[in-house]
């Protein structure tokens, strides 16, 4: 048997962790490949998300659930799969991910000695505010929690004040008014009880928070070609399940956060749902073109001059955007 040491997603993402745990426990059966897996959510073993790629390369874990945005610290190229404002719904995000996958995998193999098994989103990242808003225009002058350079660039373009806070500080910050708004997925907000401290939900998605399962190449190459194919088929099923959840669970979490009658599987709260106007969608596109893409171009081309060219041919082509 090939032993597989797996670092999973964060334990507060209980549903994702439950799926992963079950998947890896049954992997030998479902794929027919002789593996023995040991699984731990990443935070349970004290692993920080930005270290994921380095840990994969050094072989601390065989398989890791990676938050692409955080892991992009070591290579901004990966962030290109889901830049702020490029894919504003799950369908267009899936096209972008499929378009970028090959280049992404190549880069991961050559620089971090690891291979892509799955790529999938948590779900749309939307705005939660602790005061009345009716459109993106109302973000002017508000303090909004930001955690990436691209997001700060977008918020500044919108006239908001980006505030950096550690995740554990966001809840009290929203409660006490240190920050006025935070951006996360409806499901994460629900499990983190954000609706307790926020009142208005603007469901305009700025990204999908893409995640992936990556495997150390040395481990991967222990398998025969048939075994690799069998494992890839199993991983494809896992990937599809995660995409389904991003789409379906998000709808229910939105309903529950806003106290709608069809709320089923999440905690019910009473937030006000804000309608998205066409002007808001337009504004996000503007922000992406004017602020997000130029910033990313600078960072990514500094590491690899062909970066934006690759992006234009892949994600850019399906999204109808070009970085000059």
């Amino acid at each position: 048997d090939v032993p597989l040491r797996v670092a999973g997603n964060f334990s507060q993402n209980a549903k994702h962790v439950a799926i992963e745990q079950e998947f890896f426990a049954n992997l030998a059966q479902t794929s027919g490949v002789p593996v023995t897996t040991s699984y731990n959510p990443m935070d349970v073993v004290g692993v920080k998300a930005p270290d994921a790629l380095r840990m994969l390369r050094s072989g601390s874990f065989d398989v890791m659930s990676v938050q692409v945005g955080m892991a992009s610290r070591d290579d901004p190229f990966f962030e290109g799969i889901d830049l702020i404002g490029v894919s504003t719904d799950m369908d267009s995000l899936r096209q972008a991910v499929d378009a970028y996958r090959e280049a992404f995998d190549e880069r991961l193999q050559s620089k971090f000695n690891a291979k892509v098994l799955t790529l999938w989103p948590f779900g749309p990242q939307v705005f939660f505010c602790n005061q009345p808003i009716s459109s993106l225009d109302d973000m002017k002058g508000l303090k909004v929690r930001s955690f990436t350079p691209s997001m700060s660039a977008m918020l500044e373009y919108l006239g908001a004040t980006p505030v950096t806070l550690q995740f554990s500080e966001v809840y009290p910050a929203l409660q006490r008014g240190v920050a006025s708004c935070g951006v996360t997925s409806p499901t994460s907000a629900n499990s983190g009880n954000w609706p307790e401290v926020t009142t208005h939900l603007l469901p305009l998605s700025v990204s999908g928070s893409v995640q992936g399962h990556f495997i150390n190449l040395n481990t991967w190459n222990k398998f025969s070609e048939e075994q690799k194919a069998a494992l890839e088929a199993s991983m494809k099923e896992l990937e599809d399940r995660m995409w389904d959840m991003a789409v379906n669970a998000t709808g229910d979490a939105l309903a529950c956060n806003t106290g709608a009658d069809d709320c089923a599987d999440h905690k019910k709260f009473g937030m006000t749902l804000v309608d998205i106007s066409d002007a808001d969608r337009q504004k996000i596109k503007e922000a992406t073109l004017a602020a997000v893409l130029p910033l990313w171009k600078q960072a990514c081309n500094a590491v690899d001059p062909s970066c934006t060219a690759t992006w234009n041919q892949t994600v850019g082509a399906v999204a109808g955007l070009t970085i000059d």
Partner: protein, 435 residues
């Protein structure tokens, strides 16, 4: 996944190393390295650098040196000294005198600090010199500081509660509110114990100083204002939404700095001593925390916390028996894990048990935090013990801190019992406020 036998051997090896006088941090590190080398292979060890950086590069932990520096400046500018004098005027003749002030000050400070570590460092630095000078029983004094500081994670805000809430899908707002009544009750129990002990052994409660004339005592009440100003600054900036808890610590430092300037107590020599002291204490704590997080990483991968939790689950018993088993489990685990790591490692496996037995998750959060408080003041790995030892003005054996904390650990266990008997201690206030 390794067996319970190997896990317990590792534990006894660690204990042996510590007892042989190997530095505590190194003992943790060596056992982690041994486990990793035997069961996980070399690559696992190599990540130590990245992991140490990630663990240290943490704004929330930055509150530790900030709160220590705040305390050092207040201390070295004579402000806390005068505060204690003013309090001594009024409380000196109570049985236990300033020890009560000490608990009250810890409680007050806890309401602005989310961590027991910061509370222990600050109250310890502020209170210990005055207390030792007033002739209080050494062990009782040290125990009061170590135990009083555990209030830091029970009385809101509490970093531990925030982590528990987000991992177990429990309302953090309700958890915060749920900690208030048990926190106040714990203060009352601590003070009751001090009063009783000091009635039995009057000389433990410090010298009974001659009472100053009323006018003088009233005049000295002004000496209570500077610390109250700092508390108001730290607390107010959080409650009015100006700052996060860590940021409020920095405001506290600036406030203390301003007070020292006003009192013309600020000199380069004094400043340097305060800064060096802050660096010394912080790095002593952080070396242990680095090793503890590495140990947590290796035993987490080996599945030891899960193995132990599974043992608890498989025994199959009544709700009460399970709770008592969990008490025992956390007492044992608390011997070799730092509290945050311990919580993070066990919550995912313990929560299914909690749900299975129909235990209220808000109540369990309070229960868990009180057990973490016990762990903070019980050897061999009790963070508060080491911090209080670190800030002791006259040094001495760490056994003084351990013995002094023991009765307070018993009182904490008594509170656990009360909480099991009367769940409403935790649940009444959240029900009142959240419906």
């Amino acid at each position: 996944m390794i067996g319970a036998g190997a896990a317990f051997s590792g534990f006894f090896i660690m204990l042996g190393l510590m007892m042989a006088g190997i530095p505590v941090a190194v003992s943790l590190f060596l056992v982690a390295g041994l486990g990793a080398g035997l069961y996980l292979g070399l690559p696992t060890l190599l990540i130590f650098g990245n992991q140490t950086w990630s663990m240290l590069n943490d704004f929330v932990l930055t509150a530790i040196p900030l709160f220590i520096l705040l305390g050092e400046i207040l201390l070295r500018s004579g402000i806390t000294d005068r505060m204690y004098q003013a309090l001594a005027d009024w409380m000196g003749r109570w049985p236990g005198g300033l020890l009560h002030t000490n608990i009250a000050a810890s409680g007050l400070f806890s309401s602005v600090s989310g961590s027991s570590v910061a509370t222990a460092a600050t109250i310890g630095t502020v209170a210990l010199p005055a207390l030792e000078r007033h002739g209080y029983n050494r062990q009782l004094t040290l125990g009061t500081v170590a135990a009083g500081a555990t209030l830091g994670i029970l009385i809101p805000p509490s970093i531990n509660m925030i982590i528990y809430g987000s991992m177990s899908n429990t309302s953090i707002g309700q958890l915060f509110v749920a900690g208030i009544v048990p926190g106040l009750l714990l203060m009352a129990l601590f003070m009751g114990f001090i009063a009783i002990v000091c009635m039995i052994y009057p000389h433990w409660g410090g010298r009974v100083e001659e009472v100053a004339p009323l006018r003088e005592r009233l005049a000295r009440l002004a000496d209570l204002l500077p610390p109250l100003f700092i508390f108001a600054l730290v607390m107010g900036s959080i409650y009015f939404g100006w700052a996060t808890p860590t940021e409020s610590a920095a405001l506290g430092v600036l406030g203390a700095f301003a007070l020292a300037l006003l009192r013309r107590r600020l000199s380069i020599v004094m400043l340097h001593e305060a800064l060096l002291s802050t660096v010394r204490i912080t790095s002593m704590i952080l070396l242990i925390m680095i090793a503890a997080s590495f140990l947590n990483f290796t035993i987490g991968i080996m599945g030891i916390p899960q193995t132990i939790t599974r043992l608890v689950a498989e025994i199959g018993a009544t709700q009460l028996q399970v709770l008592l088993l969990l008490v025992l489990f956390y007492l044992i685990l608390g011997c070799f894990l730092e509290t945050l790591s311990m919580m993070i490692a066990t919550i995912p496996v313990v929560m299914p048990i909690v749900a299975f037995f129909g235990i209220d998750p808000v109540w369990f959060g309070v229960f868990l935090v009180i057990l973490m408080e016990v762990s903070l003041i019980t050897p061999p790995l009790g963070m508060n013990l080491y911090i209080v030892q670190g800030v002791r003005p006259k040094g001495g054996s760490i056994m003084d801190v351990i013995w002094g904390s023991l009765p307070f650990a018993m009182i904490l266990l008594l509170l656990v019992g009360l909480l099991i008997a009367i769940p409403d201690l935790a649940l009444w206030l959240p029900r009142l406020m959240f419906g």
